[in-house]
Amino acid sequence: MMETIRRISGVNPRKCMKCGKCTASCPAYDEMEFHPHQFVDMVETGRIEELMQSKGIYTCLSCFACVERCPRSVEPAKLIEAVRLAVLRQQNENHLTANDIAEKLDPELPQQAITSAFRKYRK
């Protein structure tokens, strides 16, 4: 599984030096039970199942702040995306329905993010 995630994301979590800048940059920190540096660590240590169960992976905004800021180019957001994809591929669960969208709307949030999220997580 760990290999799958690495393959989908193209990310090598071993490059991480655990500086925490991703987590420091994350705008959705409070919404997540696992934070970007933890994602990386969990992928590296093989705690993928736990990650896949986590609701936090869907609260990631894919804003790519962590990717942008990471000094080692580890790209945590891509890992998260990969985990989400893995979940999709495995379970085909419906994570985002049309009814959920109204409450997600936020003037600060780009419309496109919603649209793309809807495309991705809707069954």
Partner: protein, 662 residues
């Protein structure tokens, strides 16, 4: 026909475990010209060397092949061995059957077969070897130190104290370098100026040291022992011999809006200036970019106030040519530019500063007179956030891949000093690791935490947003498992350090190699750390890699010791493997000259005997063996094959090819 002896080394089991040494020596004994072949446990040992020497006498050997470790390891050893037995050192060839055979192959049969072939190639080469004698070239007993920071000063003082002349070339108007900008030094907290300025004065007053300030190296020719260097003395528009350094002009100059580079632009100076009070030489310099007299011909105030009559607006760059036996590079470092790290808002808020700027803000001679004030409003900061590793330890695209080494310690120093002077400030240090490997370093850091109450937080700052005169810092606390939001008054960035931008062009001039980060490469990372692989070029200080002051001084003295060792000699033994033209075949076409990186090739019109008792005047190439380093570029540029390389001749290399392919 040569009489060749073959000596196969076991290198204990290093070779013998994967190469059947007995078989190799037997097979090679069958090669034409081989009159003796044997093997032994350690050829490089005293007993092994004696065996080689005895065999040379006993079998009247004219050539020796040693199948052993890499020639880079013991070629010199074996050459000396044979030389002692009366054989020319260049009649020895090494077949590398360890690094390039036994250590890369696991199978005995494969290893043995390959060892035999490598041995054959060496034998084939020895057949064509000729005794070579190295020439001698004189050593100019004068050293050049490029860069007048603490590294350059220390190196120059040590060389000069040994009795040799030294010139320092410093691009700034004063020597002293980065250390002049620093307030206190870790881990003892003594004042940088107090320990540096006496050394600057020593250097200036030393009869063996000449300082070329506000000067740059323009051109370097020559080679170890005989460098010819052109130094450009930039026009400072002040006659150095007349200026007394009184400083009157620097007070009267009407152009007041010149960013003060010495204070990193935190305040302004005049167009004519002396960088700081203890500058050496203490001579004023006109900044041509700002001087209205030089730009528009209107002003001339400084000239009027100068009682010494030292101002000379017509001064131009002058060039000095000097010869040196050795060159020391001490070009130092600079903090990196922070444009790429805008998440820290360096360009958005004057209250986000680099550590070096922070040094100036803490310094009694700095823009704030030593009182820590925010650059934006001159208020006392109450919350200061230090960010470590800005641009260091990054992926290649994101910054510098290396650890800048000094930041952990100076940040601890800064944090400690803040807390000491202004106990009401909250000081946070965000770190990835705290690296304190040095004498009394970790104790120093622990004091910052334990005695001074600096908040060390493992984590990183994600972004800094200037808002309402405050800096909103968003950071992670990895150990606490939280995201922190701090409202800071100042943010101090520990910017990575990089080699000075002049280092790369200088390296090209010196033909000294550099790594991908533009740090000069040392001849050997462990055993020859202060020499460049280019003979006669030595490395001092941070130009070779990030260093703190004690390390820099240690390396500076080490480089000086190496220079002294070189300058003590009256002459140097040249590389005997030089290019040699066969004048009878030379076309005189200049192809070789054009590719020679050393200018070792010149041409002469010579008379030759032509057919039927005629004489022909022909232009032929001449190689200066003292200058030629033996790269062989010319040998391939030469279409007639007139140019050949001693020790790596066309015939020798082809013989090796033949032996390998046969």
């Amino acid at each position: 026909m040569q009489r060749i002896g073959v000596f196969v080394c076991w290198c204990g089991s290093n070779i013998a475990a994967t190469v059947d040494v007995e078989k190799v020596s037997q097979v090679l004994a069958q090669e034409p010209g081989v009159v003796f072949s044997t093997n032994y446990q350690y050829m490089c040992s005293q007993a092994g060397q004696e065996m080689i020497q005895e065999s040379i006498h006993k079998y009247q050997l004219t050539g020796v092949v040693i199948c052993s470790c890499s020639p880079r390891m013991h070629e010199a050893t074996f050459r000396k061995t044979c030389e002692k037995a009366g054989l020319n050192a260049h009649m020895v060839e090494i077949a590398n059957i360890r690094e390039q055979c036994s250590w890369i192959h696991k199978d005995m049969a494969t290893g043995t077969e390959k060892a035999v072939i490598l041995g054959r190639a060496a034998i084939a080469k020895v057949h064509l070897n000729a005794p070579l004698t190295a020439g001698q070239s004189p050593v100019k007993k004068r050293a050049l130190v490029i860069g007048g920071g603490i590294a350059g000063i220390q190196t120059a003082l040590d060389i000069a104290d040994a009795g040799f002349d030294v010139d320092i070339v410093e691009k700034q108007p004063t020597i002293g370098g980065k250390m002049t900008q620093i307030d206190k030094t870790f881990p003892t907290l003594d004042c940088a100026a107090c320990i540096l300025t006496p050394k600057m004065v020593d250097a200036a007053q030393h009869e063996k040291i000449h300082i070329y300030s506000y000067a740059e190296v323009e051109k370097v020719k020559g080679f170890v022992g005989n460098f010819q260097v052109t130094i450009k003395k930039k026009a400072r528009y002040v006659d150095e011999t007349k200026c007394t350094g009184c400083g009157l002009c620097t007070e009267k100059c009407p152009q007041k809006k010149v960013p003060n580079a010495f204070n990193l632009g935190l305040d302004n100076r005049r167009a004519i200036y002396i960088p700081f009070a203890q500058a050496v030489p203490k001579i004023a310099t006109i900044d041509a970019d700002y001087c209205t007299m030089l730009k528009s011909g209107k002003c001339g105030v400084c000239s009027k106030v100068c009682t010494a009559g030292a101002i000379d607006y017509k001064q131009t760059d002058t060039y000095i040519e000097e010869e040196y036996g050795a060159i020391v590079v001490a070009t130092g470092f600079n903090p990196i530019k922070l444009d790429k790290y805008d998440e820290f808002a360096y360009s958005q808020s004057p209250d986000v500063v680099t550590s070096l700027e922070f040094e100036r803000l803490m310094n009694a001679a700095g823009p704030t007179g030593g009182t820590l004030l925010r650059p934006s409003d001159g208020a006392h900061p109450h919350t200061i956030v230090f960010v470590q590793c800005v641009g260091s330890r990054c992926d290649d695209e994101k910054g510098k891949p290396y650890c800048s080494k000094i930041c952990c310690m100076y940040t601890a120093k800064h944090a400690m000093l803040c807390r000491e002077k202004y106990p009401d400030t909250d000081v946070y240090v965000f770190y990835i690791d705290v690296r304190t490997p040095g004498k009394n370093f970790d104790e120093f850091y622990r004091r910052a935490v334990e005695e001074y109450g600096v908040h060390y937080i493992k984590g990183m700052v994600g972004k800094v947003v200037p808002q309402d005169g405050k800096l909103k810092v968003q950071a992670s606390d990895l150990l606490g498992g939280s995201q922190l939001h701090i409202e800071a008054d100042m943010v101090v960035l520990a910017a990575a350090i990089e080699p000075d931008e002049t280092a790369r062009p200088l390296a090209t001039m010196l033909t000294a190699s550099m790594d991908t980060n533009d740090f000069f490469t040392e001849a050997h990372p462990k055993l020859r750390p202060v020499e460049s692989p280019t003979a006669g070029i030595f490395l001092s200080g941070a130009c070779q890699g990030p260093k703190d002051i004690p390390e820099t001084v240690a390396q500076a003295s080490a480089a000086a010791a190496k220079v002294i060792g070189l300058l003590c000699k009256d002459s140097l033994t040249c590389n005997p493997c030089t290019a040699q033209p066969d004048e009878l075949m030379c076309n005189g076409c200049s192809s070789c000259e054009k590719v020679c990186p050393y200018g070792a090739i010149t041409y002469a019109d010579k008379e030759f005997r032509g057919p039927n008792r005629t004489t022909l005047l022909r232009r032929v190439a001449q190689v200066n063996p003292a200058v030629c380093q033996g790269c062989g570029a010319c040998t391939v540029a030469c279409p007639s094959g007139a140019m050949d390389l001693k020790g790596f001749s066309n015939q020798q290399i082809m013989a090796e090819v033949d032996a390998i392919c046969r």
